[in-house]
């Protein structure tokens, strides 16, 4: 069956450290992978998109990698801040179906 798995346990890190979140998928052939941030009581906010032929994408303190062999994407936040605390969702867009499929998200808590 098709699955998108993100760390179900919250990730707690100290301010200033690098946070690394994982998104694994099975039985998908993603064309693109997107990462969103969601704060409590709000809708998701788009952060980054990476295509299947791209290994890495950066935006300010954010970095995403995409390994289609391992079927995994890693999302990094460098020099993390308490304001980075939120739930981070990965989402795949497949060649077949043309719709985003979301993971359950990982809660990140950055402590000062």
């Amino acid at each position: 069956s098709q699955k998108i798995e993100q760390n179900s346990e919250a990730l707690n890190i100290q301010e200033g450290k690098t946070a690394t979140l994982t998104c694994n998928y099975t039985n998908y052939s993603p064309a693109y992978l997107q990462w969103y941030r969601q704060d409590p009581g709000r809708g998701p906010v788009f952060l980054l998109l990476i295509r299947e032929n791209e290994k890495e994408k950066r935006k300010e303190r954010l970095k995403v990698t995409f390994d289609t062999t391992l079927k995994q994407s890693l999302f990094h936040i460098t020099a993390s801040q308490p304001a980075d605390s939120a739930t981070y969702l990965c989402a795949l867009l497949t060649y077949y179906g043309n719709k985003l499929v979301f993971g359950a998200g990982t809660i990140l808590r950055v402590k000062s």
Partner: protein, 116 residues
Amino acid sequence: EAGVVQSPRYKIIEKKQPVAFWCNPISGHNTLYWYLQNLGQGPELLIRYENEEAVDDSQLPKDRFSAERLKGVDSTLKIQPAELGDSAVYLCASSLDGRQGDDEQYFGPGTRLTVT
């Protein structure tokens, strides 16, 4: 620029009652999405519109859910009758052109529905 607007933000109804949610997308966005999000889960697509045409409604429970997007702008999602299991957050999103696949989606704040 105004974002995606949804109303109401919260709704509490008794089971078997009808309920409707309204969404106003970002101006100029052709594609509109309705998602359902359960607690601790990611959003799940219910229906996608390209302008006024529903192009993907395969996950919409058509026995009780209906949606419309008249004139290709605002959209309404209705549940009739509501069941206890419908309690969730209903998110609306829009994008410039969803046919491209790599479109960034802009989400509204959602409507939190509680069915008692």
